[in-house]
């Protein structure tokens, strides 16, 4: 697998740690970046052009859905999926509308690996 860059966006350090451990196990050698807010994620993406972005929804500041919209405009080449505890239909619908993936928490390793290896990801 070619080395890629994954950006994890979640205000919870523990959530980022758990996602990071799956990425490290499944995709050894990949670069993993972390952001605690949407604003920080956009700044990081401008500097590092991540290949994949995993985005929490309920975060302080602009929130994951608004950040995802801006990612779609500014970084259309990045594969983006929500990774969220918010299982409400409107969140899934919004992900579909934006053309991005949707993965619910708690994270299932196989869904994350599916997303990182080419699938859009939906659970």
């Amino acid at each position: 697998m070619t080395s890629r860059t994954v950006l994890l966006v979640d205000d919870s350090r523990v959530a980022r740690m758990m996602t990071r451990s799956v990425v490290e196990r499944s995709c050894p050698g990949w670069t993993i970046l972390e952001a605690a807010t949407g604003e920080e994620a956009l700044d990081l993406a401008a500097a590092s052009a991540p290949d994949f972005v995993l985005m929490d929804v309920n975060m302080p500041g602009m929130g994951g859905l608004e950040t995802a919209r801006l990612f779609r405009q500014r970084f259309p080449a990045a594969a983006l999926s929500l990774l969220t505890a918010n299982i409400q239909d409107f969140v899934r619908d919004e992900a579909a509308h934006l053309g991005i993936g949707y993965i619910s928490k708690p994270l299932r390793d196989d869904l994350l690996v599916g997303f990182l290896t080419g699938g859009a990801g939906s659970s």
Binding site: R13, A15, T84, N86, Q88
Partner: protein, 206 residues
């Protein structure tokens, strides 16, 4: 306090919440890799003081830790995930497994419990919203530690009644017990019961 909502509404509310809590339990089970046993949910209308006493009774008067989220839709209130303080570290250990060194566990306890709460409370609220066909907005979760009155933090403890729903759950193999509670004031509880009744009528009516 049986007159606040009717018997059929109460039954419908308990059934809808039962499904939502089942979704939350499934999430908890996946996070900690253990079976989760649930008690049957039972809705009561209590004064905040009695609700706090009820919580303290489950911990033998010791402090609890809790994750609380405020939610709002056509009704609003708080949803809480509560654990006896002495077992919260066990839960964190179950969740993070061997990936985190023991000496980091205590430092991470609060953040880990917030993430557990985030997943479980949103699973419950999300299921509720999807069943009722509503959008429910929720605040970011907050972490609390203390006795029942501090955790419930009602605005008018001497005059309000709250709809209190407590579900006991236990992680069979790990011996961890906890409680999920909904707190709504009476106006919200009536709106909630009406939304549930409307949903049940739609389903039964085809």
């Amino acid at each position: 306090m049986t007159g606040i909502i009717g018997a059929l509404e109460r039954d419908a509310v308990e059934e809808i919440l039962n499904i939502a809590i089942g979704q939350a339990a499934a999430s908890l089970s996946r996070m900690v890799g253990d079976r989760v046993a649930l008690s049957v949910p039972f809705v009561e209308f209590l004064s905040p003081a009695v609700a706090a006493e009820r919580l303290d009774g489950t911990t033998g008067g010791a402090d609890s830790v809790a994750v609380r989220q405020h939610f709002s839709s056509s009704f609003s209130g708080d949803i809480l995930l509560i654990f006896p303080e002495r077992r919260s570290l066990d839960l964190v250990r179950s969740m993070l497994g061997d990936s985190v060194p023991m000496d980091s566990l205590t430092e991470l306890e609060q953040e880990a419990l917030l993430e557990v709460g985030n997943v479980i409370l949103n699973a419950c609220l999300g299921s509720l919203a999807n069943q009722l066909g509503l959008v429910i907005q929720s605040s970011l979760p907050i972490y609390l530690r203390g006795r029942g009155a501090r955790i419930l933090d009602t605005k008018h403890p001497d005059t309000e009644l709250v709809m209190f729903l407590q579900v006991d759950f236990s992680l069979a193999a790990k011996g961890v017990q906890g409680y999920l509670a909904f707190v709504m004031d009476i106006v919200s509880a009536r709106h909630f019961a009406a939304a549930v009744s409307a949903y049940v009528s739609r389903v039964i009516g085809g």
